[in-house]
Amino acid sequence: MNAKNEPQTVNKQDLAAYAIALGDDSLTLGHRLSEWTRNAPFLEEDLALTNVALDFIGRAQMFYSYAGEVEGKGRSEDDIAYLRDCREYRNLLIFELPIGNFADTMARQFLVDVYDAAFYTALLESSDDTLAAIAAKAIKESRYHLRRSTDWVKRLGDGTAESHEKMQKAFDAVWGYTQEFFEVDATEQLLIDAGVAVDRPALKGEWEKLVQAVLTDATITVPEDEWSIRGGRSGMHTEHLGYLLAELQYMQRAYPGCEW
């Protein structure tokens, strides 16, 4: 990234699209985590997961609100969240995957938290002041999320035979979605060159190192890179996003403009 004292002009619509993509990452995962509310294994974990869900939904609100301001089309954060269809969503696929069982949720969460901790640390240095300010808030949350999910990966991975098996299966099932963390297209590359966006490919080494260390500690075998899937940033999603949006957007779709 360039130093902050070298401001470069970037295309406003590209910047808005970038903020929307980051908001989509946060909103889809926040919604997924909220599905655990009142369904978690026990009360304490229910509250903890709901707190994490709210952290992600709060981020989405900040990113969308900034995107609306930058693009200058008069869209509010609610318009951006509720009135776009699947193909207009730009989140990485890993964020939209169903919650599965508790091991599936925690395996995905851990991989995301390691990524988020590195991502928001880098975004702190963004030449865009608003993105840097959002990162300053998010990084504290993500470090706590990471502490929690690391704890669970070790607890279940190195727990009973059954919890170990479920954790291993969870990592095997989600692994192919992690490559997308570190891939960028030409438009995002322009924002990276301008010092606005995070150089995601550069985060891969740090991510792999920490993930491997924790998985080894948890007696989980790090999956092989046998397959990988991508497409979220270009609007090509898994079948799961449609169902997520159907629930998320139901009220605004059924009763347009409804407020309460």
Partner: protein, 95 residues
């Protein structure tokens, strides 16, 4: 997970510097480390404190109802041990 099998912890929170930790409630967790995280998530959601103690409930030794006669009654007729005749200055808030 069988919730009833998880040990019970008591949670103490210091609301600000200079004050003592106060008992705020209890929760279930697998160990101290998890209890500390859950205490944060369950009891500090609205900035209630700046420091947390968690203690395994079974490690707390409590006085019993049957101890009252020996423990507390003997103090009743010794008013000279109390600061009851001392005027507190208005500025002292936490005594």
């Amino acid at each position: 997970m069988n919730h009833n099998a998880l040990p019970l912890f008591e949670v103490f929170i210091r609301s600000k510097r200079g004050l003592d930790h106060r008992h705020v409630g209890s929760l279930h967790a697998e160990d101290h480390e998890q209890a500390l995280e859950y205490a944060r998530d369950v009891y500090l959601r609205r900035s209630e404190g700046i420091s947390i103690w968690v203690v395994n409930s079974k490690d707390i030794v409590a006085s019993q109802e049957s101890d009252v006669e020996q423990f507390y009654d003997p103090m009743d007729d010794k008013p000279y041990r109390h600061a009851m005749h001392y005027q507190l200055p208005d500025e002292v808030n936490n005594m």
